[in-house]
Symmetry: C2
Subunit: 277 residues, 2 copies
């Protein structure tokens, strides 16, 4: 019997050329499809909620696929994680992709089309110091930033707006550049600034351009009140630089309005950030 | 005029094939010598205190070299770090090697022969959870360990002893397998166990075998009191497994007895671990 399966996945994107399969490159999709083939005994095609670029990480990427495999659903995670070398017996170097949840979903469910919202997280390290051990996991700004102006600016991103000014060229063409940002805030954690942003969808490179713009605000290159104008003018050249992929994490994906609202309320009560909250 | 220069270097060893130059491989020595050639305007040969293996990290590796370059000593760090892409203006992906100190030393100084002691640090993550973002930076034990027995066992490593049982085959042949461990302790930090070990020298893979042995003690496979016997018998087969390179950091190198004693005293007063203390 054909089953529709939804996976939740985390991955360290630093050694990956992004989600999407590409000839001759190590990608998340291909690595995961290879491991699933070994555990399920058949080749499947993964449909991810969002395609992450090279170097971008995920704590909660989702992907669905159909299978006729006889492997019980509650065994998929354990068996697949063993093939990904993140299971009971890992050998070093350990794998960089891990399945953290598996469930059977309705036949008409699709990881991309059923998604109603996503949270991205961006890790910024302000100050002139460089921590080489974080080089693939955050963005070392190399200068001090004014957090107050950044907090003022981030509020201007919230709402239903045409975000054309925060869209990079080169992505899949979209019908509209209007998106709704339900929540956006900057939390502090161990010397880092953590941008947490939740919306119904994001344009190509949108979070990285918003982050770069907020950094430019923090550096005094852009004034917080200029955010409204760059959105209104739909002009990419008025927005800031594109922050590197290294600091970006696809954090959480929602298929249920209530679950999303609850998470946003919870994050709204925090002033500091915990990765596993 | 020929100058003798001592560098202190930190590096993320996860993408490096160790310190020592090897044809067709990315190594710390070669990457650093290439950057120094650009900053000094001449090719130099680095003599490191210790050669670290592939995947091993360093917070305080030292290396000395002779140069006739006209570049003032106080500019070497800044210029070299720019060529290593960890300087004022970094582009992503950032470099994984950083010079943290440069000084001119006496003509007869040599980073290896003048060294009187070294501290290594090993990061262990006990428990069955796996954090893929730490996969290149620690050792996920994948099981709970008994910290009390490990604490009991680690004390038995301290002293001047023949450590042949903790030596792997394949290293440079040594005149003697007697070494002095001045201090060894396990500290706790954010769910991790941090082994901090200081000695006058270490045999090939010695810290990784000691760590593996301590883990085996924590797992109940080896009793703490068996440590004395394995040392006495000089028998590698009685000791534990070799812990992976990922958790190992060459932390600090001493050329001065007083400085080393002071650091050991300071670490002895701590029960938790801070990377920059």
């Amino acid at each position: 019997m054909k089953k529709n399966i939804l996976l939740t996945i985390e991955y360290d994107g630093s050694s990956m050329k992004g989600w999407q399969k590409q000839e001759g490159q190590t990608t998340v999709q291909e690595t995961l499809e290879n491991a699933l083939e070994k555990s399920l005994g058949e080749r499947v095609v993964l449909e991810a909620t969002g395609r992450t670029d090279a170097g971008v990480h995920a704590y909660g990427q989702c992907a669905s696929f159909f299978t006729e495999s006889g492997l019980p659903v509650n065994k998929i995670m354990r068996v697949t994680n063993n093939f990904l070398n993140v299971g009971e017996r890992v050998s070093y170097p350990m794998g960089s992709i891990r399945v953290v949840d598996v469930k059977e979903v309705a036949e008409d469910f699709h990881a991309r089309f059923s998604c109603i919202g996503k949270t991205y997280v961006y890790r910024l390290v302000p100050g002139d110091d460089v921590d080489i051990f974080k080089r693939s996991y955050c963005y070392n700004v190399k200068k001090d930033v004014d957090v107050g102006s950044m907090q003022e600016a981030v509020k201007k991103i919230i709402g239903k707006k045409d975000f054309a000014c925060f869209q990079a060229a080169g992505g899949t063409p979209r019908k509209t550049t209007v998106r709704t940002i339900f929540d956006a805030r900057i939390l502090e954690s161990g010397g880092e600034l953590i941008l947490v942003i939740t919306g119904d969808g994001f344009l190509y490179n949108m979070v990285r351009i918003i982050t770069g713009t907020l950094v430019d605000v923090g550096l005094g290159k852009i004034k917080p009140e200029e955010i409204d104008r760059m959105i209104e003018k739909k002009d990419r050249t008025l927005a800031g630089h594109t922050a590197p992929p290294t600091g970006l994490y696809l954090y959480k994906i929602y298929f249920d309005e209530g679950e999303m609202r609850e998470w946003i309320d919870r994050i709204g009560m925090n002033t500091s950030w915990k990765w596993r909250s």
